[in-house]
């Protein structure tokens, strides 16, 4: 099954309580994806010229302060690491691509979850309810966020196989469905230098978007490319630095409900997740059309 939730704040009030709202939504999707869960939050921009990395190490005692000190020694600035369970957000005084390359070289023992100016990704195996509690998702604020609950079909249940998948700087993907040509596409993308950590089909979709945008496509163009190049069932939600986008395959069997009020835009696999939001009863509600890219940014909606 899998469950997807997304929330985009239009007011300060929703922004401050974004984590609490997203947690309520995620818990409604608990039964759709009891294997693992994850969230991407867009919050607390890194200082100009700097970036932030979300990193994972399975050992709760891992010395994040030492890694942050190494980063400060390399790039300058104050060491900054904030641990959240077995993840940590490290702020680095260098552009995200440089910071990402550095951590891969100097600290191969940690896994990169996300890199960019605003994104933070947290994900872990286990019940979504337990994940939300462990990671304190409810206390996070932010401009927008995506969440996912996974019922595994295509590959093993691991932290790396959980959603969201990073698809580039400040970008991430969550997926409900299954792709049937992922082995072939993965092989092609590996030739293009895209690195994969799992046998997961959704990671291939993430890698595909990363490759298309690296080659100059806009997010909308990359998503439209999915309609040509990815075979299978999908509802995708993609987080960007200033908004999010939704795409369903041309058959559109996998569920998606969108809702909008003056306070927020929400997306979920089932309406019950949206029903938890304040003002849901007065929202404009619709199910996205097949093979159509919907996206929201700061400036407003474009479909």
């Amino acid at each position: 099954m899998c469950g997807i939730v997304g929330l985009f704040a239009k007011t300060d009030d929703v922004q401050v309580r974004l984590g609490a709202h997203l947690t309520s939504m995620l818990l409604e999707m608990n039964d759709r994806g009891p294997d693992s869960a994850g969230v991407a939050f867009y919050r607390e921009p890194a200082p100009a010229g700097g970036s932030k990395l979300t990193l994972h190490h399975p050992d709760l005692g891992y010395e994040w302060a030492a890694l942050a000190a190494d980063a400060a020694a390399q790039f300058g600035g104050e060491p900054s690491a904030h641990r959240r369970e077995n993840h940590a957000v490290v702020v680095v005084a260098a552009p995200a691509d440089e910071a990402e390359a550095w951590v891969g070289r100097s600290h191969p023992e940690v896994r990169l979850m996300s890199a960019g100016g605003v994104i933070e990704i947290y994900k872990e195996v286990g019940l979504p309810r337990v994940f939300a509690e462990r990671f304190g998702v409810a206390e996070l604020d932010g401009s927008h966020a995506l969440g996912h609950t996974r019922m595994a079909t295509e590959s093993r249940v691991t932290t790396d196989g959980s959603h969201p998948f990073s698809t580039g700087l400040d970008l991430c993907l969550v997926h409900n469905g299954s792709l049937s040509n992922h082995n072939r596409v993965r092989k092609d993308l590996r030739r293009e230098g895209i690195v994969f950590r799992t046998e997961n089909d959704s990671e291939v979709a993430a890698g595909y978007l990363m490759w298309r945008m690296r080659e100059g496509a806009t997010l909308d163009q990359a998503l439209e490319g999915c309609l040509e190049d990815l075979d299978g069932f999908y509802t995708f939600a993609v987080g960007t630095a200033d908004g999010f986008a939704v795409l369903r395959d041309p058959i559109a069997c996998k569920p998606a409900v969108l809702a909008e009020t003056d306070e927020w835009v929400a997306m979920a696999s089932e309406y019950r997740a949206i029903a938890t939001l304040p003002g849901a009863e007065g929202a404009r509600i619709w199910e996205p059309e097949p093979a159509t890219v919907y996206s929201w940014q700061r400036e407003g909606v474009a479909a």
Partner: protein
């Protein structure tokens, strides 16, 4: 109808297991004096609510329902005061299922009898493989609605999405608004007096007032696909 007529049996799903509720509703089929009126509180989008009913009872769901609500319904009248998820009233046999809000994909799929009323919008594949049930949608219906619909009637007061009535057999479709596109072998047909009467009856059954049946356009099968060709009859 029974000694308990007039009273309302309220079941709070925040305190009662869904299976226990459905079992109690199923037991009404054999009960000497069925409880005639039920209200389900705090449904919170639960799946498979009030499925497989077979008694002349009224069940009100006081909130949102999840997947397959009122599936296989026989004789019962089920009302969802909210939105319904995928597969509302799937394979309905008889009775009435009404949703005051929107219904998600495949509402009334394979329905054999009875009436399904969606007061908001129905999304994709509404009435797919319809086999005799009637559907009235006050809002709009999504893409691939009435796909391979065999018999039964579908009335849409709003618009219909892409590929309406694709590969349709003998079901009749009436749409008041625009149709984004017609599916394979589905064509517009003349709206005659007997069709106006049919639409008027269906609107009345759904409690829709003040709408002129003459505003609808009728769609159905052109009977040109393989299965309609007499030369293929020997292939079966």
């Amino acid at each position: 109808m029974s000694a308990t007529a007039g009273t309302v049996e309220r079941v709070d799903l925040a305190a009662t297991a869904l299976r226990d509720l459905n079992q109690r509703l199923h037991d009404q089929a054999k009960a000497a004096e069925p409880i005639g009126h039920w209200q389900i509180l705090n449904p919170s989008g639960a799946h498979a609510l009030a499925c497989g009913l077979d008694a002349p009872i009224e069940v009100e769901i006081m909130g949102h329902a999840g997947y397959y609500c009122a599936g296989m319904n026989k004789r019962a009248t089920v009302t969802v005061h909210g939105n319904a998820g995928v597969g509302l009233a799937e394979n309905i046999m008889s009775g009435v299922v009404r949703v005051t809000g929107n219904a998600s994909q495949a509402a009334a799929a394979t329905g054999r009898g009875g009436l399904v009323i969606v007061e908001g919008d129905a999304s994709a594949r509404c009435g797919i493989s319809l086999k005799g049930a009637d559907i009235v949608v006050r809002g709009s219906a999504g893409h691939m609605s009435a796909f391979m619909a065999q018999t039964g009637r579908m009335v849409v007061l709003g618009d219909a999405g892409d590929a309406l009535g694709d590969s349709i057999y003998e079901a009749r479709i009436y749409v008041r608004g625009s149709v984004k596109s017609l599916g394979a072998d589905c064509v517009e047909k003349e709206l005659r007096d007997d069709h106006r009467d049919e639409v008027a009856d269906l609107l009345a059954a759904a409690g829709v007032e003040g709408v002129d049946p003459g505003e609808f356009r009728r769609y159905g099968s052109a009977r040109k696909l393989y299965t309609f060709h007499v030369d293929n009859a020997g292939s079966y």
